[in-house]
């Protein structure tokens, strides 16, 4: 009996919550509401990503309403990004967070200025200095 139970346990662990994560239908209605922007992509998400989103959903009630809106508006874009892009963003975010508040504020101000540019101006910037963009993560947002 034990002999039969052991491989069954291994299989169950491998095939369900641990490796594939919860199915959409297994989420609570509250989790489904929070993660609604991901509903279409959920079946394609890896198990570890599903687990991570559930963890993020647990933090949602403690966020401010502005943070909640930001999270939901950026969720889908984040889910569509590659692991390499995730790693790059995390790395740069950590460097930004380690900066003094005035530098962070300066970068945010520069972003608002950049957002005010037209698409043509942004394209000119991207094309005008092809090779000028710093290569290593962290060098980009730390020039200020």
């Amino acid at each position: 009996m034990l002999l039969l139970a052991l491989p069954a346990g291994v299989y169950a662990g491998k095939g369900t919550a641990d490796s594939r994560g919860p199915e959409w239908a297994q989420l609570t209605s509250e989790q489904q509401h929070i993660l609604a922007p991901l509903a279409q992509d959920w079946p394609k998400l890896e198990g570890k990503r599903r687990i991570k989103w559930v963890e993020i959903a647990k933090r949602y009630p403690k966020m401010t309403s502005q943070e909640q809106q930001r999270l939901q508006s950026r969720m889908q874009q984040w889910a569509s990004m590659t692991p390499e892009e995730h790693a790059q963003v995390r790395e740069r975010y950590k460097k930004l967070k380690a900066m003094p508040p005035e530098k962070r504020e300066a970068i945010q101000r520069k972003w608002r200025e950049y957002e005010g540019l037209t698409e043509a101006e942004k394209k000119t910037l991207r094309d005008a200095h092809p090779g000028q963009a710093p290569r290593k993560p962290g060098q980009t947002l730390t020039h200020e």
Binding site: G9, E55, Q77, K110, L117, T140
Partner: protein, 131 residues
């Protein structure tokens, strides 16, 4: 004298001899008799407790060598595999919880995710810094 009479006279002579046997000789005869009966019973399958027990002990020994030892090894191997798998799962969940904390911060920060990957913004920062 016919055969029947001869047999009766022999038996009578033997019976007379029995009364003359010493107690030691009687004891040895009784022990030999019981040993012969035990051996006879052991030869028959399922005959008597002693024979059954001896037979069961042999089977257990065989079972130990050919079945129980590999079975124990298999159970041990599967247990180790299960333990290792559970450890891996726990580590993965823990790692995802760490990512969840960081990603929640990234996704709720004032600076949007696109800012970190926009090469135009990198150039803008690098070449148009007025501070």
């Amino acid at each position: 004298m016919n055969e029947q009479d001869l047999a009766k006279r022999i038996v009578s002579k033997l019976d007379e001899g029995l009364t003359d046997l010493s107690s030691g000789a009687l004891y040895r005869l009784r022990v030999a008799h019981e040993a012969a009966l035990s051996r006879a019973n052991a030869g028959r399958p399922g005959s008597g407790l002693a024979g059954g027990a001896w037979s069961g002990s042999g089977s257990a020994s065989l079972l130990n060598r050919r079945v129980l030892v590999p079975l124990f090894g298999l159970i041990l191997g599967l247990s180790v595999l299960l333990f290792w798998h559970q450890q891996q799962s726990q580590q993965q969940i823990s790692r995802q919880a760490d990512y969840a904390e960081l990603d929640a911060q990234v996704l709720t920060d004032e600076l949007p995710v696109t800012a970190y990957l926009d090469t135009g913004f990198e150039i803008w920062l690098y070449h148009h810094t007025t501070d």
